[in-house]
């Protein structure tokens, strides 16, 4: 794994920036000032803006006071004070639970979980509203069964269960996710699929510094609780021109970051960096044939004639928001190309790719010639 990542790190290209055609630009116009920033600096900028624009907003979590273990919160405590930017005890369920309480009183609580691997104790609090709703016709009653936890049982359900008397929409949970090569079991996890199963929250994953700043500001200001996973692999090495002003990128809108005709590739976060490299490689015929053997990246059902005649033209989509996700963009693309490949870091079984494939198959059944998953980690 580390060697694979190393291979891509050498030429780390921010997806959709210099290479290929960047079809959809949702960010600032060129006349605005921009600055070359890496991912953690862009996130830091977003947090500064968020705290500046709303005096009732707070940033807290383990070690955020001195700037955070990934430097995402540098300068915030000094600028806004320890009452608004502070360290918490080492307790994820407490962090999220406390954040829910703050948000329920109309504040914006931007909570940091140090690694997504540690988010599970807070899972209960995330679900604080929405058990699965089972429509039982026979007893003429809606049976509602509950599970347990802060994110799932508290945050997600706060509005629904109270009949909209209360909500904790001001809550945003940030957590670094994903492999870095040396992280092992507990500094590399990609748990987005667990949260995508919880109606009532949103799940957002940026791919680059410019995207991260805009998406984070949207997430903080969205009137629903949001879980925001940041690809930690990109914190330092991914550098991009980021507009300095306050801007937001809409949630639940996927972006075609590379146009193509032969196959649709869907991904999010750091994986897009890898996938874009794969797109470049796929366009080169001979390279592609060599790589087929020893590369984990596989594309099936391509006629040999097609490969010999031309490279493979790939359409790459960044989902950005996984819950609720933009089915329309993916559907339109698959209807055009007829092929879908989903690639994510998380384990294959029960991964979010399964949701995408089931939905697309349902909607485009007659048009799909091939459908594949790829995950850099098998189960």
């Amino acid at each position: 794994m580390a060697s694979l990542l190393g291979r891509f790190c050498r030429k780390l290209v921010v997806p959709g920036s210099a290479h290929g055609s960047r079809m959809v630009s949702t960010t600032a116009c060129d006349s605005e000032a921009v600055k070359s920033l890496n991912l953690h600096s862009a996130i830091n900028q977003a947090l500064h803006i968020a705290l500046e624009t709303d005096p009732r907003s707070y940033v807290f979590g383990e070690d955020v006071g001195f700037g955070g273990v990934f430097r995402c919160t540098t300068g915030l405590a000094e600028r806004f004070g320890k009452n608004r930017v502070f360290n918490t005890p080492l307790c994820e369920q407490g962090i999220v639970g406390f954040g829910i309480g703050l948000a329920a009183m109309g504040n914006r609580a931007v909570v940091e979980i140090q690694f997504a691997d540690y988010i599970y104790p807070a899972f209960d609090q995330v679900k604080r509203v929405f058990p699965t709703l089972e429509f039982d016709f026979s007893t003429a009653e809606f049976l509602i069964r509950g599970f347990n936890s802060q994110i799932v049982n508290e945050a997600a359900k706060f509005r629904y269960r109270s009949g909209n008397q209360f909500n904790c929409g001001g809550l945003t949970i940030r957590a670094p996710y994903g492999a870095v090569g040396h992280g092992g079991h507990y500094h590399s996890q990609s748990p987005e699929a667990f949260f995508c199963h919880v109606p009532g929250i949103k799940v957002v994953i940026p791919r680059s510094p410019r995207e991260a700043k805009g998406l984070l500001l949207s997430s903080i200001r969205d009137p629903n609780p949001v879980v925001f996973f940041e690809p930690k692999w990109l914190y330092r090495p991914a550098v991009e021109e980021v507009p300095e002003h306050d801007y937001m990128i809409p949630l639940s809108q996927a972006e075609v970051i590379r146009e193509g005709n032969d196959i649709t590739l869907v991904g999010w976060g750091a994986q897009l960096t890898v996938m874009e490299q794969a797109c470049l490689d796929a366009e080169k015929v001979l390279d592609f044939i060599f790589q087929l053997k020893d590369n984990w990246f596989k594309v099936s059902n391509m006629g040999l004639e097609l490969i010999m005649q031309e490279g493979i033209s790939c359409e790459l989509i960044d989902l950005k928001t996984l819950l609720p996700w933009d089915k329309e963009t993916v559907e339109a693309s698959v209807k055009k190309t007829g092929r879908l490949l989903i690639s994510h870091e998380a384990p294959v079984t029960g991964g979010f790719g399964a949701e995408i494939s089931a939905t697309i198959l349902e909607r485009c059944f007659l048009k799909v010639k091939s459908l594949r998953f790829n995950s850099s980690r098998r189960d």
Binding site: K82, N83, C91, Q93, Q125, E141, E154, Q165
Partner: protein, 468 residues
């Protein structure tokens, strides 16, 4: 900023209470070692901006490294502050010789104890307290019976805990935000939730503020500052701490109050909440209804500490143990605790000892794990209503006549409330999909269409009382 008391006599009484009421104070040793600091706003947490923030006790900071050690004082420096050392190997015992004593004002027969201290209660408040305790008990009885008759799907009573419910509510202000567990409908009742509103939620009709989504007894009212009940145990505790922090930051004359049971104190969220409350210096009251049972689990299977009150000190939280069946004691304890929490910006833990007279819920038959005699004894000999009634009557504020008038009025109101709630139609189908998010996203709108299509093709499978 500071809480000013209304009259000097009240302030004298309260000063006596503060020293004697039994709130555990900082230990002698730590006081000796603590830096001598002036009272008033301190700078630890003050923001550099202009908005004033409140601070309370200064946490011990690390003394300057390299400061000389006075070998005569037998004191060491470590992160966290100075600590005296001892050459003896001594383990702190797992429990004190004697259990923490329990504060009460009235004896079992409702007579005021001779040297009892308590916050005086006016006739108006006392009569409302007793009336609401009766109302709560009757409401529970009638709803319980309704469930048994099949008219309600589920119910959970608060029998035996009426004093905790009503007296605590009476001691709070309407601006204090409540984070309940599920056995505190009396707090809502005190604040003005009507019997009809209770019935609407239980029947899940379209007048239910929760829009028919939750099981009965999962009440909520933003108007009355009572956060909606969720069945998950103790998840509300850290939420209350966050809310309390918000009240502090906004400079409000209010605190957060959260209730939980003996079982709830075992949850991780209890630990998380108390620790956060202490560190964040949040004005929150943690009120534990230790009623002896978590469904079928007695407290001996729940924890091995001396109840819940001793756990407060572990987090640096001032705590008190109260007789939960004594309405006056509950009132005084909560009243005092509230003042301290707001004025000093600190959490307070109150353990109210009581007994769960009813079953855990209508899905439970508690005679399967405890004797009917035990239940009966607590219901008769230790009943919080009769105790308080004796005291209220001794002041000439109540009589048999007022009692029977009240009871017949409540019964009539309850039956009418049930009749109306049962007849009222259910919430519209679209409410199955609204409020999941602030605005229904595309996937939910699609799902609603699918459901409506299914109903069109299978109309007989759809309940007739749920409007489309």
């Amino acid at each position: 900023m500071a809480q000013h008391l209304k009259s000097s006599s009240k302030s004298i009484l309260l000063n006596i209470l503060r020293h004697n009421i039994g709130f555990s104070s900082p230990s002698h040793a730590s006081r000796h070692l603590r830096h001598n600091l002036p009272h008033g706003p301190l700078s630890t947490r003050l923001a550099p901006n202009l908005i004033t923030r409140y601070c309370n006790t200064m946490v011990d900071t690390l003394s300057s490294i390299g400061s000389h050690e006075d070998t005569n004082s037998q004191v060491m420096d470590f992160p966290g502050g100075k600590v005296a050392f001892t050459p003896e190997i001594h383990f702190i015992s797992e429990s004190n010789e004697e259990r923490v004593p329990c504060y009460r004002v009235l004896d079992d027969n409702g007579q005021q104890l001779t040297n009892s201290q308590f916050v005086p209660v006016s006739k108006e408040i006392a009569v409302k307290m007793y009336s609401d305790m009766v109302t709560l008990q009757m409401m529970d009885n009638i709803f319980y019976e309704a469930q048994r008759q099949g008219r309600l799907s589920f119910y959970a009573t608060a029998f035996g805990e009426e004093a905790i419910n009503i007296a605590s509510a009476a001691a709070l202000s309407p601006d204090d935000v409540i984070f309940p567990q599920y056995r505190e409908p009396g707090v809502l009742l005190w604040r003005g939730f009507t019997l009809q509103e209770f019935a609407n939620q239980c029947f899940g009709n379209k007048s239910d503020y929760g829009k028919g989504r939750q099981m009965p007894v999962h009440y909520g009212s933003n108007k009355l500052n009572y956060f909606t009940v969720s069945a998950t145990i103790a998840t509300q505790l850290p939420n209350a701490v966050g809310a309390a922090y918000s009240l502090k930051m906004d400079g409000k004359d209010a605190c957060a109050v959260t209730f939980f049971g003996d079982g709830g104190s075992s949850e991780g969220d209890f630990h998380a909440a108390l620790n956060f409350a202490a560190v964040m210096e949040a004005p929150v009251l943690f009120i534990c209804r230790n009623n002896g049972w978590a469904i079928s689990t007695p407290t001996s299977d729940q924890f091995r500490s001396d109840g819940v009150v001793v756990k407060g000190r572990a987090y640096g939280i001032r705590s008190i143990r109260v007789d939960g069946n004594d309405a006056l004691a509950m009132y005084s304890a909560v009243h005092e605790a509230r003042e301290m929490a707001i004025r000093e910006r600190r959490p307070i833990l109150i353990e109210a000892l009581t007994y769960r007279v009813g079953h855990h819920s209508t899905s439970d038959d508690s005679t399967r794990y405890r004797s009917a005699d035990e239940i009966e004894w607590w219901n008769k000999a230790r009943n919080p209503l009769s105790r308080f009634r004796t005291w209220v009557e001794s002041n000439g504020w109540w009589s048999d006549e007022t009692e029977s008038d009240l009871r017949s009025r409540i019964k009539k109101e309850m039956l009418e409330a049930i009749r109306v709630a049962e007849k009222t139609e259910k919430p519209n189908l679209n409410h199955m999909f609204s409020d999941v998010y602030d605005v229904p996203p595309l996937n939910l709108r699609e799902q609603e269409l699918l459901v409506r299509q299914a109903i069109k093709s299978h109309p007989l499978d759809y309940p007739s009382d749920v409007p489309l």
